[in-house]
Symmetry: C2
Subunit: 218 residues, 2 copies
Amino acid sequence: MRKVFQAELHQVGEELIEISALVTDAIEKANQAFTGADVELAQEVIAADARIDFLQNDLDERAIDILALQGPVASDLRMIVGSLRMSASLERMGDLARHIAQLARLRFPAKVIPASLTVTFDELAALDIKISKQLGELLETRNLELVTEIAASNARIDELHSSVFKAIAAADWNESAATTVDVTLASRYFERFGDHGVSVARKVSYLVTGQWQPEAHA
Amino acid sequence: MRKVFQAELHQVGEELIEISALVTDAIEKANQAFTGADVELAQEVIAADARIDFLQNDLDERAIDILALQGPVASDLRMIVGSLRMSASLERMGDLARHIAQLARLRFPAKVIPASLTVTFDELAALDIKISKQLGELLETRNLELVTEIAASNARIDELHSSVFKAIAAADWNESAATTVDVTLASRYFERFGDHGVSVARKVSYLVTGQWQPEAHA
């Protein structure tokens, strides 16, 4: 029984890693579609999000079965409850990658981001991709140094997100209102993606250390 | 033992209702601050959000203790897991009310929304407030007709949210880029609030019926 239980716990952990890999794939491709105005790739990201949603449901059902049938306690219980929360955040990261791809599709064949902000958005996207990859690594290795790095990347994302609004408010901003909307939403999507990444990373940290630090306001 | 367990389950339910009442208070006051450019009220909403966060943590710890100590099964287990998820959505609704209050504070003494869109935003806010009130009622009464009403309100919110972007893209939109940003973010906050409301309502429905229908994409 104990062996089956450990195998089931392990399976939940593996499924989290699998979802995380799909999220990384989604944000990488969404960004390529976004910067390259590639409508086919955008379509691919949008379609692939259903798989993330499916896996999240599957993981959640599995976790609830474990709770019902095994009555886990202590660190095993924390791991199961933590997995339910992490899967919700990862699913949301998948949604945000999909939203970015949807913006690319909406504006095709034009690009979403005006030339003056491409450097900023390239850095935002690179940081989201880095966070997503490090999250996958963190879920596999439980190396908590990655939690600090993920938080640092997210702090930089917050700066970039603010800088986007400063650029829009500046006197030399000459873009259309529709572009202003797109830039605002895109910046918000990239920023929320990072927040969810930090949220998952902090949960892994909690599972490893048993110490919880309340989340800063997002 | 069984009696203590039922009392603990009841306590979790009561705490959800309490959080829901605070969220309703937050969205009502946030909207007053937002439409009336009332910086003191905005400040109050921003400060009060810490209480929602505290109660969410408290509820979650209580729920995890019940899982650890009581090993609930079947509908009791569903109720506990459902509560963990509902508390996360309610906490997020509190954050969104705070974001709306923060926009009011940022633009004070000016109003955030230009005259041409006040009717739209009044309706958005009224629908969010209605959803939040009905959610509180649903948590207390488990009257599932409210789930349908909440979903209908949210469908109307989505229409209004789209209409905001159409208004911004129209030829006669003459507002500044900063106002365009504010309107975009505010509309997104009101829209997300409704989505989370539907998400909580669907979880109540699941607890009552045991039937889960996958969520539509947000």
